[in-house]
């Protein structure tokens, strides 16, 4: 308990923001990255065209609390299991996995079943994203 308290006092929330696969639209992910920066978080922005293993390797090296992935390519059902698998292999059990972008509502339960913690599809308000991360970061 004391440990958690100590971390919350000095610890910043560190977030990895990125896109996966052949998805060339990066405006949204940059907006969210800026938003999280404005909310006092440290955001590592990795850019586009990453593969699941690249993302998880970077998350390990950077010791992030959250992985945020933006998907506008309709590849979410393909890439998500691969990312979750890599996270398991890498031992990232305590890292939050959050998705955003163009994601049909009917896919959200499927994604959560796969191991995604939360999904913020296009049209999400910004404040709930910040609040969700603050409340759910596991330390």
């Amino acid at each position: 308990m004391k440990k958690a308290k100590e971390k919350n006092k000095d610890g910043k929330i560190k977030v990895l923001m990125t896109k996966v696969g052949l998805d060339g639209h990066d405006r949204g992910v940059k907006v969210i990255a800026s938003l999280l920066k404005e909310a006092g978080m440290e955001v590592v922005y990795l850019g586009m065209y990453l593969m699941p293993k690249d993302i998880v390797d970077a998350a390990i090296d950077e010791d992030v609390d959250v992985i945020g992935i933006s998907l506008l390519s309709a590849g979410h059902l393909v890439f998500t299991p691969l990312i979750v698998e890599e996270m398991k292999k890498g031992g990232l059990d305590d890292v939050l996995l959050i998705l955003g972008g163009v994601i049909p509502p009917e896919d959200i339960p499927i994604l959560k079943e796969m191991g995604v913690h939360e999904v913020f599809p296009a049209g999400s308000l910004t404040e709930p994203i910040v609040t969700y991360i603050r409340n759910h970061v596991r330390r």
């Binding site: 800026s34 006092g40 440290e42 955001v43 922005y45 850019g47 690249d54 950077e62």
Partner: protein, 328 residues
């Protein structure tokens, strides 16, 4: 990580366990006591590792140059650790860490370890924990450690005391010869890289820099600072940059150069640790006493000046710690 014990944690870092190293750097950033305890077991004699610094203003191409350097060292079979510092917001505390993105070509390479650090209010172009993070990377066994500063203005020169060879990245659009003549950042480089020389103004900038560097009096003996034109996005000029780094490494390691480097690094490291420790002890002492608020109110009300206020707080602290020592 803290549940595995200090010695085990240190051992894992020395065995190049990336997660153990990453968690240790985070603990360093949070100034946790456990980080100091682990670091005590990671002392590496200075000299084994090649330690480089890369500095220059925002957008000059530091991260791209670092990416080129990583590639060049990897071709030579060397492993590389990189610490890339970006600024924290002084208002929100948040940070946008965008250096790793430029080096992502090496993200998959297990011989490369890149760590982004936010400056968290630490001045001088580095983050508070940068020195310790450098030690972690050395302990992991990397042959080369590269420290990339935040985009520096004119006098963020801390990096110079911590590295063996410091590269300053400039561009042809940095301004006229007056900028090159100013003190500070121009004085710390052992190698100047004029990046983006595919833009106009290359010849004029090269000439101005050479003139300015020739007039420098703060100079390492026997090392005239070279200016190397380069285009970091294409890799043009990188061979020459590598040659100059190697030459400087040879030059620096002659005679007692390494010892001098070790001394200045220890001096800088020591002063950082002492300042941190003093700050920590005093603030721990004040926390929860209401003293801070009391004196701030007095200062605002014009009843006391800040110098006297600090003197009074310090006097109280010294009095109390004397008592504490007597009790012990």
């Amino acid at each position: 990580m803290s549940e595995i014990g200090i010695m085990e944690w240190a051992k894992k870092v020395r065995e190049n366990d990336r997660m153990a190293a990453a968690k240790l750097i985070s603990a360093i950033e949070r100034k946790e006591k456990v980080a100091r305890d682990v670091l005590k077991h990671l002392f590496i004699p200075v000299g084994k590792t090649t330690v480089l610094g890369v500095t220059g203003s925002a957008g000059a191409g530091k991260s791209c140059l670092v990416s080129c350097l990583i590639g060049a060292y990897r071709k030579r079979g060397k492993t590389v650790g990189v610490i890339a510092v970006d600024p924290s917001s002084p208002f929100t505390g948040g940070a946008f860490l965008g250096d790793r993105l430029r080096m992502q070509a090496h993200g998959r390479d297990r011989g490369v370890y890149i760590r982004s650090m936010a400056s968290r209010g630490y001045l001088g172009g580095l983050a508070r924990g940068t020195v310790d993070a450098m030690r972690v990377m050395e302990a992991m066994g990397h042959d080369v450690v590269i420290v990339e500063t935040i985009g520096t203005g004119q006098d963020e020169v801390d990096v110079a005391r911590l590295v063996q060879t410091c590269l300053l990245v400039l561009t042809p659009t940095m301004g006229d010869d007056i900028q090159a003549l100013k003190a500070g950042i121009m004085e710390i480089a052992q190698v100047v890289v004029l990046n983006k020389t595919d833009m106009p103004g290359k010849q004029k900038a090269l000439l101005e820099l050479e003139v300015a560097l020739k007039m420098r009096r703060v100079e390492e003996e026997g090392w005239p600072v070279p200016v190397v034109p380069a285009v970091a996005t294409t890799g043009e000029g990188i061979d020459e940059v590598m040659d100059q780094i190697e030459k400087h490494q040879v030059h620096m390691r002659k005679g007692d150069g390494l010892k001098q480097y070790a001394f200045q690094k220890a001096e800088k490291e020591g002063s950082v640790i002492i300042k941190d420790e003093i700050e920590r002890v005093i603030f721990d002492h004040i926390r929860g006493t209401g003293l801070r608020r009391k004196y701030l109110d007095k200062i605002v009300a014009g009843e006391i000046d800040p110098y006297t206020a600090v003197e009074e707080v310090m006097a109280l602290f010294i009095k109390k710690s004397k008592k504490h020592i007597q009790v012990q």
